[in-house]
Amino acid sequence: MLLEVENLSVTIGRVTPLDGVSFGLDRGQILGLVGESGSGKSLTALAVTGLLPLIGGRVSGGAVRFQGKDLAGMKPAALRALRGRRIGFVTQNPMTALDPVQRIGAQVDVVSRLHLGLSAGAARARTLDLLTQLRIPEAAAVCEAYPHQLSGGMKQRIVIAMALAGEPELIVADEPTTALDVTVQAQIIHILATLVRERGLGLVLITHDMGVVAQVCDRVAVLYAGRLAEAREVRGLFAAPRHPYTAALIGCIPREGMAPGALTGIPGAVPSVTAYPPGCRFHPRCPRALPACATEVPALTGGALACLNPLEMPHG
């Protein structure tokens, strides 16, 4: 397995916003990491890229295994050799992701110079090649430009080019389209999906857009308030969600032929880290909650479902 996250807990200061998150990913696969804001998706991304120390956090339990090696036990230098080289990272907001005082070309070049040991000339040639593959017109002119001279969609392509420049096996994309126009969103998702198929990359796609998940992902991990609710192969999950939270998320996707007003949303909000409820963290908002849900933390059954009163498996 390319990436294996097992019972991962993350601690920042005195709070533990993430605990008991597990999922796995093979090469050539896209894993959708979904959940509302505050469910711990971005923290998971930082844990997988070894960037938790930047926000003062650390892995306090479980393991993040990349190609069989646990990242949590690695020295900073070893992690750095991995980041940009084997694990590429695409951030949420391309508007602020690039260094505003450095030319685009240099920002992409540095990855292949650092990790692949290319000369300045070879690195630039590679950058031009990458930009062209990502359908960036006039790649040579873009290399000489500064970030403020490019559109949001262009900038996100540059960020993707930086993630690809080290020939990685895994890309972690943290809501890569949230800050972009709807038309551009589809293009960026298409680019990422194509890369996975063509290059056999693994992609962790963090999103709160269940529509995108249904279109491009192979597997889904649903997070709620820092815990895994359900992790499964995508078709089964959409056809017959077992966790009430998954079902509620799917219910939030507008569909053809839906009666006006049928789109309900989920009442209430994700609890904050300091106010996680006891028992199952979803029980205050759950339509299927049992009395036991308020006290008993549901264990992951079959490694993929954490619910005391799941929806029925479809018969047949």
């Binding site: 960037l51 980041r83 080289r85 951030t91 907001n93 260094d99 005082v101 500064y146 001279q149 080290g166």
Partner: protein, 312 residues
């Protein structure tokens, strides 16, 4: 960029006129008369009128201003009333000393201040940071003349490494430069530290880490570059201040310079000299500000883009 430079220089002209008018008026509106210093006790009214006529002091103020300004743009700063020699000579004698002292002090506080600020920021909230910020606090609260006296006592009197006073040779520059430079260092250190910490929390820094760059490289080549933008602005603003603010230090070390010239001329009500000194200081502030803006534009492509946009 050249276009921008030309526009900024043109914009300095009205500022210059306003400053020159204020300098001219302040001196004519404050009480005291230089003619008193020139007349013997018991001189007659006709003798007074004669001297006033010689320096044009009997003409109406607007006329005096027009004459002064007219001479000024031709490089003629007038004749010192007390010193009885061309003001331009007095300035030419004092300015190099001030520029040397101010320039070296500025260089010292930039280099040492930025270096200390970087070290403090890299060790944020640990002992090197606390030691540096503590030292900087002591340095910034110590008045220049007292620090100067202290340095003289230790390095000139006790140790005998440098001369006590005067302006002969490089050795005599060390203590005055340190005295002025240490005060500026405190400011630069603090601004650098805060700007580094602020810049390292920006989004793009996260992505630099994600690219696998080493933290030191990120701090020195990316974060520091951003942090230097406000630092350069502050340093440029200090240019004028350092030229004029060196006066106490010039007195303590008995050095010639613009500051001592100004104070002496003020005591003697020597209008042309005072005006020339104030004008030099005002120009230093104006040029410093301009220099700061230019450096900022050179360091930040977004500022250049905003200027190009404003020019259209």
């Amino acid at each position: 960029m050249l276009n921008y430079l030309a526009r900024r220089l043109l914009a300095l002209i009205p500022v210059f006129l306003a400053v020159s008018l204020v300098i001219f008026l302040i001196l004519h509106l404050i009480p005291g008369d230089p003619v008193d210093n020139l007349l013997k006790v018991g001189a007659s009214a006709s003798q007074r009128a004669e001297i006033e006529a010689r320096y044009g002091l009997d003409r109406p103020l607007p006329v005096q201003y027009a004459i002064w300004l007219g001479n000024l743009v031709q490089g003629d700063l007038g004749t010192a009333i007390i010193g009885r020699r061309p003001v331009i000579d007095i300035i030419a004698q004092a300015l190099p000393h001030s520029l040397m002292l101010g320039g070296l002090a500025l260089l010292f506080s930039s280099v040492v201040g930025v270096a200390l600020g970087v070290v403090a920021a890299l060790h944020r909230d640990r002992w090197p940071d606390q030691a540096i910020m503590g030292g900087v606090l002591v340095g910034s609260t110590m008045p220049g003349f007292w620090l100067g006296l202290l340095l003289i006592l230790v390095f000139a009197v006790w140790l005998g490494w440098f001369p006590v006073s005067g302006a002969r040779g490089w050795a005599s520059l060390v203590l005055p430069v340190l005295t002025i430079g240490l005060g500026g260092t405190a400011l630069v250190t603090r601004v650098t530290r805060v700007a580094m910490i602020e810049a390292s929390q920006r989004d793009f820094v996260m992505l630099l880490h994600a690219k696998g760059l080493s933290p030191l490289r990120i701090q020195l080549f990316h974060v520091l570059r951003h942090a230097l933008i406000p630092v350069v602005t502050i340093l440029a603003l200090r240019i004028g201040w350092i030229l004029g603010g060196a006066v106490t230090v010039e007195v303590v070390f008995a050095r010639p310079g613009l500051g001592t010239t100004l104070i002496k001329a003020l005591n003697q009500h020597d209008y042309p000299v005072v005006q020339a000194c104030l004008l030099m200081l005002a120009m230093a502030v104006m040029l410093g500000t301009l220099l700061g803006d230019i450096l900022q534009a050179l360091m930040d492509p977004r500022v250049r883009a905003a200027q190009a946009g404003a020019a259209r």
